[in-house]
């Protein structure tokens, strides 16, 4: 077990490193890389709550991402709402979809691959709906938000076109970093609470958990709500940063895969897993780009093939993810007996 002091020190170094990163990197491309990595980590942390801690593997987390993104975009586009107001409805809408899908699945005891399939099916249904309900969603054209060019409105429009160059360049980076810190703190709080203990018990053995006083249904409903809230917050961020959303981005399978790959590779049911996983995946992707000269956007699917191979290798040789590998290495170095399993 990695002792608490080292763990806190590790987190402190990680957070300080990420906070000071803009001072060390001047290249816009690397900031973009960090933004997308942290974005993937937030998505992954959302999935991790339900999939990693709760053992309910969703294949359709795009449902929550897309609902958050669409509501954030449409409330501004159609009704001219302030993004600061819209975001609460986007978040609430994502949670509502989570409650709806969770109720249908968990009430009727769907587990394992059945749960994965139903989430996949709902994501596809929303995909089709968002394409065909043109009067509501603008259909396949997608929703574009107006770019704010007035530095005085940067905060009001939640578009960081500040007059100050530092804020202008790094505003979105700090926003997503803050969101990741909140997501990790929420996960950490959950992992060390009664709710988290009960969720893990449901993952390990649902009937045994019921027998010792755990309301498995209520626990899973709470987990899918929290999971959906974090994932839809990533959708809100996406819209504010790119000012555009369409059915494919919102509800396509890419976001569902992106949400589950970081925690699985990084370490299921750990706070750090999705963060490490996101860095690993995006790092590998970036490396592949550098070395082969192939640009993902020009070779759609190449990155997914690569991720698939990594995923299979990880599941075969390191089922507890990179965090598990780290812990094993730590034990070897510090000579601790491998008696205790670590869950933070």
């Amino acid at each position: 077990m990695i002792s608490p002091q080292f763990r806190y020190a590790g987190w402190l170094i990680l957070v300080l490193g990420l906070v000071t990163a803009p001072l060390l990197i001047s290249s816009g491309r690397w900031i973009e890389f960090l933004e997308l990595t942290l974005f993937a980590a937030v998505l992954g942390q959302g999935w991790n709550i339900l999939g990693g801690y709760g053992g309910q593997y969703s294949f359709g987390h795009a449902l929550f991402f897309g609902t958050g993104a669409y509501l954030q975009a449409l409330l501004q586009f159609k009704f001219g709402w302030s993004p600061w107001v819209a975001m609460w409805f986007a978040l609430g809408g994502g949670v509502l979809v989570g409650v709806f899908v969770g109720y249908l699945s968990f009430r009727y005891g769907l587990r394992g691959s059945y749960f994965a399939l139903i989430t996949l099916a709902f994501a596809e249904a929303f995909h089709v709906l968002s394409r065909s309900l043109i009067s509501v969603t603008e259909g396949g054209r997608g929703v574009s938000l107006d770019l704010n060019r007035d530095p005085d409105m940067a905060l009001a429009t939640l578009q960081f076109n500040f007059a100050a160059p530092f804020l202008k360049a790094y505003g979105y980076y700090y926003l997503i970093l803050l969101m990741l810190i909140i997501a990790c703190a929420a996960t950490w709080w959950m992992a060390n609470s009664r709710f988290g203990a009960r969720l893990v018990a449901v993952r390990e053995n649902e009937e045994a958990a019921e027998a010792i006083g755990v309301d498995a249904f209520a626990t899973k409903m709470a987990a899918i709500s929290l999971s959906a809230a974090i994932t839809s917050s990533a959708g809100i961020y996406y819209v504010q940063k790119f000012l555009f959303i369409d059915p494919g981005i919102a509800y396509g399978p890419a976001k569902s895969v992106e949400a589950l790959i970081a925690p699985i590779i990084g370490g299921l049911g750990t706070v750090l897993g999705p963060v490490i996983g996101a860095f690993f995946i995006h790092g590998v992707g970036e490396l592949a780009k550098e070395t082969t000269g192939l640009v993902w956007q020009d070779r759609p699917g190449l990155d997914l093939i690569l991720f698939g191979v990594i995923l299979v290798l990880m599941l075969a040789f390191a089922p507890r993810g990179l965090v598990g590998l780290l812990e094993r290495a730590w034990r070897k170095l510090s000579g601790t007996r491998p008696t205790e399993r670590d869950h933070a």
Binding site: R194, A197, V200, A209, E210, A211, I212, G213, V214, E340
Partner: protein, 247 residues
């Protein structure tokens, strides 16, 4: 403490339990025996809320609990263990027990502390930091009991906690069960290990083909012809007494 009246449960055309009525008085150790397939585990599942009876009522501490869900029944103070043990394999013994403690304790730190006290009481202190997957059969049975006790029950249903244990382990488990009862928890147990049933029980019920065929002090039960026939086949009691008179 526990009162069952006319409980029946069908699985399709098979009557798993058939009009079972019994009582478990507070502070007692009551056992339920019977051949394999008699419906003992089904009855426990009905009592603990895992199955809804098709007819009949279950009342616990003066309250009708028929059809309540398992976690509600557990919160009222009636908890079961599983014949096929179900440890949370990926968690440590401490975390396993603490999950039970959370039934009455909200704080994580307090639950982990409570788990240590329970482990001490059950004799599992040395194993607290082991993953449950690393325990022996006896260890897992013990963990099953520890996790149930951690929920703070008034009545504990033990489903074959001695199956698969060696003689020494059975003796330790018998001591443990007696200590749990002396600690104020009423016990209702299913068991095949007859010496343990004999030494522990204040009263024994015998279930065969889903129906109760006898009940009484364990000594009386052992010589009851209906019980002998249920275990050894039709006519066995007569043959045995015949063999006895020839000797």
């Amino acid at each position: 403490m526990l009162k069952v009246e006319g409980a029946s449960k069908w699985f399709g055309g098979l009557r798993a339990i058939d009009g079972v009525s019994l009582t478990v008085p507070e502070g007692a150790i009551v056992s339920l025996i019977g051949p394999n397939g008699a419906g003992k585990t089904t009855l426990f599942a009905v009592l603990s809320g895992f199955l809804k009876p098709d007819s009949g009522t279950v009342s616990f501490a003066g309250r009708d609990i028929t059809g309540l869900r398992p976690h509600r029944i557990c919160r009222l103070g009636l908890v079961r263990t599983f014949q096929l043990v179900r440890p949370f394999a990926g968690l440590t013994v401490r975390e396993n027990i603490a999950t039970g403690s959370h039934n009455r304790i909200r704080s994580r730190a307090a639950a982990l502390g409570h788990a240590e006290q329970i482990a001490d009481r059950i004799g599992m202190t040395a194993m607290l930091d082991l993953p449950a997957a690393a325990l022996t059969v006896a260890g897992r049975k013990r963990l099953e009991v520890a996790r149930a006790i951690a929920t703070g029950p008034r009545l504990l249903l033990l489903d074959e906690v001695m199956a698969g244990l060696n003689a020494t382990e059975v003796a330790t488990m018998v001591e443990l069960i007696r200590a749990v009862r002396d600690g104020g928890i009423t016990i209702f147990l299913i068991e095949h290990v007859m010496p343990a049933v004999m030494s522990l029980s204040d009263r024994t019920y015998v279930l065969n083909d889903g129906a109760l065929i006898a009940d009484g002090a364990p000594g009386e039960i052992a010589t009851d012809p209906r019980v002998i026939e249920a275990y050894l086949g039709h006519g066995a009691a007569a043959r045995m007494s015949e063999a006895g008179s020839h000797a």
